[in-house]
Subunit: 146 residues, 2 copies
Amino acid sequence: MGMPDAPRLDRQVCFALYSASRAATAVYRPLLEELGLTYPQYLVMLVLWENEPRGVRELGEELGLDSGTLSPLLKRLEALALVERRRSAEDERRVAVHLTDAGRALSSKASGVPQHLAAAAGLSAHELDQLRETLGKLSAALHGSL
Amino acid sequence: MGMPDAPRLDRQVCFALYSASRAATAVYRPLLEELGLTYPQYLVMLVLWENEPRGVRELGEELGLDSGTLSPLLKRLEALALVERRRSAEDERRVAVHLTDAGRALSSKASGVPQHLAAAAGLSAHELDQLRETLGKLSAALHGSL
DNA sequence: CGCTGATAAGTTGTGCACAATTGAATTGCC
DNA sequence: GGCAATTCAATTGTGCACAACTTATCAGCG
């Protein structure tokens, strides 16, 4: 039965994305749990490990998240003593997010995490590369269409 | 500046997935808003448009969601009068989710939605096909690794 | 200087995700 | 039949996402 003209769920790229994304964070979850982080918290730490300190707005641009998401998330990272938020002296609107020593130290414990996904993915390095590239093109196009 | 050995954010497939998935639902959002649906609600309706009624557990298997997510979501769909939940007579544990006439009628209004993503994606039909296939393989492998 | 508009971060409210628990109904097995 | 183990849906609690709004600060311009 069913309705032949109804959009078919299994045909949709959007569902495939949604599903694969949740599956990937599910694989990360137990690894990150050992670090005491959620996946979005891990993303913020990745950005800070690259370069710090960063403003809240800067973090938001890098990750595509707004202050409504980041403000409480950063408070939780601060409660974990991984991060410190300091109001900027030159511009009192800005908040600079600094790593603590503990936050910096966590970097080495996290260094093995990405390899786990690669191992669990069941795709070749080349396929993963191509996937990442296609997803990048897709994200850019979708953002452009808004 | 920068720790050369820190995992690089832009290299990660996982972030690309996370980002592309949110971008895709962001493209869907204004379209679905006209139908009065969120993206997960739309997914549930897609499953029901294919075949109804369905049990909560069945919906969960199809979408990879548990009752903690589905129960309140289905209540909202019921409040929108798109769906009815009926306790099964043979097995009183089960709840069968039925479409209402309004729920069935919404199908035709939704039929143009998937084409929008394809148009906004900036990828060829072939690239989309390949992407969906790779994502499917990835999801399966990731689920298998849990 | 003082005002207007822009910008930064935070807050509020809604709706997923998901772990963990609960409670009711059913199945299996003796 | 009687009882343990299982199954199903719902509930509770935490943490994202995101829209809408608030508050504080700053920049530009007359």
